[in-house]
C-alpha cells in the first residue's frame, strides 16, 4: 500500500501507476466537491478531469504544507472557477431580476433533506449564485477571498450570497411541501 508521499514522488516522476493510484484514491471524494459546482454530472466530470490534469502537472509545486487532499480540493475549486469563467462567455444568463425573491418566513424543518435533494437545489441555482454559495457556505471562504477568486466586487459577493440563500430557502420550502406525503426517504449514499 502506497502512502500519499510515495504517490506524490511517483507523480512527480510522472509514473502512470502512481498517477492511477492517486486518482483511484481521491477521484470519488473530489468528484463529490465538483458535483456541487457543476450544473450536471457530466460537467462535474469535466471539472474532475481537468483538475486531475492540473494536479499531475503541478504536483511538484505541492509544498507538503497542509494535507494533499486540501491541496487537491483547492485545485478542483479553482478549476471549477475556471469553468465558471469560461462558461460566462457562452451560456445564457439568468438575470438576477428574474428571480422572485419570495422569502418564506418559516424555515422548513430541514433535518430530513437528503443530500441528493440538496444537490438538486444547488444545481438549480443560477451559476454565479452557485459558485458563491458553495465557496461561502460549504467551503467556508470569506467574502473577500471569494471576490478575489471570482474577480468580482466584495459587495457583489455579499449581495449575491444573500440572494442565493433566499433562493435556496424558497426551494427547500417548495421541496418540503412537495414531499409531505412520502416522508422517510433515506439518503442512499450513506
Amino acid at each position: 500500500m502506497y502512502t500519499d508521499e510515495d504517490l506524490i514522488k511517483g507523480c512527480i516522476r510522472k509514473e502512470r501507476a502512481a498517477q492511477k493510484v492517486l486518482y483511484e484514491r481521491y477521484a470519488d471524494i473530489l468528484l463529490g466537491i465538483c458535483a456541487r459546482y457543476a450544473a450536471d454530472t457530466a460537467e462535474a466530470e469535466d471539472i474532475l478531469q481537468e483538475g486531475f490534469v492540473r494536479i499531475f502537472n503541478y504536483i511538484a509545486d505541492y509544498s507538503g504544507k497542509g494535507s494533499l487532499f486540501n491541496w487537491m480540493r483547492k485545485i478542483m475549486i479553482n478549476t471549477a472557477i475556471t469553468f465558471y469563467h469560461r462558461g460566462l462567455k457562452h451560456r445564457y444568463h439568468q438575470d438576477i431580476g428574474e428571480l422572485q425573491e419570495a422569502a418564506p418566513d418559516e424555515m422548513p424543518g430541514h433535518a430530513d433533506f437528503t443530500r441528493e435533494e440538496l444537490l438538486s437545489v444547488i444545481r438549480s441555482l443560477p451559476e454565479g449564485y452557485r459558485m458563491i454559495f458553495n465557496l461561502y457556505a460549504v467551503e467556508g471562504y470569506k467574502h473577500k477571498e471569494i471576490a478575489e477568486m471570482l474577480g468580482i466586487d466584495i459587495n457583489t459577493s455579499k449581495s449575491q450570497y444573500s440572494r442565493a440563500r433566499r433562493f435556496i430557502r424558497q426551494k427547500l420550502a417548495e421541496l418540503s411541501r412537495v414531499r409531505m406525503p412520502d416522508e422517510g426517504k433515506k439518503d442512499s449514499s450513506e
Binding site: F52, V53, N57, R115, L118, F133, Y136, A137, V138
Partner: protein
C-alpha cells in the same frame, strides 16, 4: 439570523465527505489529455510534436528534392528520367533553396533537431552527383549552377554556425546581393525569384525611450514577418516603427516569404542605453536666520555631467555645488545629469527652503544632564540636547505638559523659553518614554494643539553632548 446559519450548517454537514463515483471514461480522458500535453511539450527524451514536425520537414524536403522540380515544371507527374531536358537543373537549384529555407526554420527548434535535420543535408549531398550528371549532359549555361549550389550550401552552413543575432544587417544584405545574380540570372519568370530579406534601422542605438524607424529593402517578398526579441513587437507591417522603453540589447528579425513559399531571413540589433538617474540631497535642509550656504549632494547614478538650476536665477555645472541663497524661498531646484552615452535625466524638487512664519515642533528624545538639574532654560539654535523644548516661530501663548506612563503630571511650563530638564524635584526622572501635550496660539491668532511622546535618555555621569 439563526435560520441562515442553519442553511449553511445543513449544507456543510450534508456534503461533508461526499463521494461520487466518476464514470469509467474520466481516467482515460485524463491520461489522453496528459499524453497530448506531453506530445506538445518539447523534451529531448520523448517523441513529441517537435520531432514529428522535424521528421515531416525532412520527409517533405527529401520528397521535394527528388520529385518536386519535375512535377512543378510539367504540372504532371513525370518520372525522374525526364531530367535529360534542359530545364530541370534550374529547378533543382530552386529545390535546394527551398530546403535551405526549411532548415533555417529548423534552427528555431533546439539543438536536438539539428541532428535530426542532418539527413536532409545528406540528401542534398547525394543529390549533387545528379546535378553533375546533368551538367555533363548539358552545355555552357548550366556550368554555373553547381558552383552556385555549393556557395549556397556554404553560406547556409556558415549561417547555422553563427547565430543570426551577431549578423549585422549589412552582412545580411551582402548575402542577399550575393544570391541575387543567380536568382535573376535564371530567367525572371514571375514567382521564380529568390526572396531577399534586407532592412535598415535608424537609429540603431540610443537613449530610452528610443523610436527606431525600419526601412525595408527586401526583394521579391510577398509577406514579411518582424520579430523583436526579447519581448518586443511581432507583426507583419511593412515598415514598423519600433519603440523601446527599457534599456537593453534587442534583436530585430525579419523573415520574408516569396510567393512560392521560399523564405529569407535578416536580423539586426538595437542597443538601448541605460539612462542615468538624477538624484540629490542637500544640507542644511532649511534656511535659518544665520543664512548659511547650502551644500548640494549629488547622489545620481551613471552621471558624468551635471547641470544645476537653483531656482533663484543661479545655475552651476559643478558636480556638488555649494550655493548661497540671498532671498527667501521657496525655490524649485533642478538637476540635469548626462550619462557617458549622452542620455539625460532631470529631477526637479519643488518648493524647497520655504519659510514658515508659524510653527512649533518638538523632538522625540533628549538626554538629561547627568550632573544635575539645569532649570530648563536653553539657548535657541544650540546643539545641546539636555532640555526637552520645542523649536518654534510666531508663537504667542504656550502651555506644555509632560506626563509619565502612569498619567501623572511630571512637568508643566507656560514659558516658551523654559523646557523640561528631565528632573522631578531635583531628582532625575526614570529614563523611558514620557507623553507630552502642548497647546496655545500663534501670533496670527490661530490655536494649536500638539501631542506626542519623548524618550528620556540617561547617560552615565560625566561628559555628554
Amino acid at each position: 439570523m439563526r435560520r441562515n446559519d442553519d442553511i449553511e450548517k445543513l449544507f456543510r454537514e450534508r456534503f461533508e465527505g461526499y463521494r461520487l463515483k466518476p464514470s469509467a471514461g474520466v481516467w482515460q480522458r485524463v491520461m489522453r489529455q496528459l499524453r497530448w500535453q506531453n506530445f506538445l511539450r518539447f523534451s529531448p527524451r520523448r517523441f513529441n510534436i517537435w520531432y514529428l514536425s522535424a521528421l515531416m520537414a525532412v520527409v517533405a524536403g527529401g520528397t521535394w528534392l527528388l520529385y518536386g522540380g519535375d512535377k512543378k515544371e510539367q504540372d504532371l507527374v513525370l518520372p525522374a528520367k525526364e531530367e535529360v531536358r534542359p530545364a530541370p537543373p534550374k529547378k533543382n537549384v530552386a529545390a535546394d533553396t527551398s530546403v535551405s529555407g526549411e532548415q533555417k526554420q529548423g534552427k528555431n527548434f533546439s539543438a536536438e533537431e539539428k541532428g535530426k535535420l542532418l539527413p536532409s543535408k545528406k540528401g542534398m549531398n547525394e543529390r549533387s552527383p545528379n546535378v553533375k550528371v546533368q551538367e555533363k549532359k548539358e552545355e555552357e549555361a548550366l556550368s554555373d549552377d553547381p558552383r552556385l549550389l555549393r556557395d549556397e550550401r556554404q553560406g547556409q552552413v556558415a549561417e547555422e554556425k553563427q547565430p543570426a543575432e551577431d549578423v549585422e544587417v549589412r552582412d545580411m544584405a551582402a548575402m542577399g546581393v550575393g544570391r541575387e545574380p543567380h536568382a535573376s540570372g535564371r530567367g525572371s519568370e514571375a514567382g521564380d525569384e529568390m526572396p531577399v530579406a534586407r532592412f535598415t534601422l535608424s537609429p540603431r542605438r540610443g537613449c530610452p525611450p528610443l523610436e527606431v524607424h525600419v526601412t525595408d529593402h527586401s526583394e521579391h517578398a510577398e509577406s514579411r514577418r518582424w520579430k523583436v526579441e526579447p519581448r518586443g513587437y511581432e507583426g507583419d507591417a511593412r515598415e514598423p516603427v519600433l519603440r523601446f522603453r527599457e534599456p537593453g540589447t534587442y534583436v530585430v528579425k525579419l523573415t520574408v516569404r516569396a510567393r512560392d513559399g521560399r523564405v529569407a531571413h535578416a536580423s539586426d540589433t538595437v542597443v538601448v542605453y541605460e539612462p542615468p538617474r538624477a538624484s540629490f540631497d542637500w544640507s542644511p535642509q532649511e534656511l535659518t536666520e544665520s543664512n548659511e550656504p547650502v551644500t548640494f549632494f549629488n547622489t545620481s547614478l551613471r552621471a558624468v555631467r551635471s547641470f544645476w538650476s537653483f531656482g533663484d536665477g543661479h545655475t552651476s555645472l559643478e558636480e556638488e555645488p555649494i550655493h548661497h541663497f540671498t532671498e527667501d524661498g521657496p525655490f524649485d531646484v533642478m538637476l540635469v545629469v548626462w550619462s557617458e552615452q549622452g542620455c539625460a535625466d532631470t529631477l526637479v524638487r519643488k518648493g524647497l527652503f520655504q519659510r514658515e512664519d508659524f510653527y512649533i515642533r518638538f523632538p522625540n528624545a533628549f538626554i538629561a544632564n547627568p550632573n544635575g538639574p539645569t532649570g530648563g532654560y536653553y539657548t535657541e539654535g544650540a546643539l545641546a540636547n539636555d532640555v526637552f523644548h520645542p523649536v518654534w516661530k510666531g508663537v504667542a501663548t504656550y502651555h506644555l505638559q509632560v506626563f509619565n506612563r502612569m498619567g501623572e503630571l511630571v512637568f508643566e511650563s507656560r514659558d516658551l523659553h523654559k523646557g523640561w530638564d528631565g528632573y522631578i524635584l531635583d531628582q532625575m526622572a526614570a529614563p523611558g518614554v514620557y507623553i507630552w501635550k502642548a497647546t496655545g496660539t500663534f501670533t496670527n491668532g490661530k490655536p494649536y494643539v500638539r501631542f506626542g511622546n519623548v524618550t528620556l535618555i540617561r547617560k552615565k555621569q560625566g561628559r555628554y553632548n
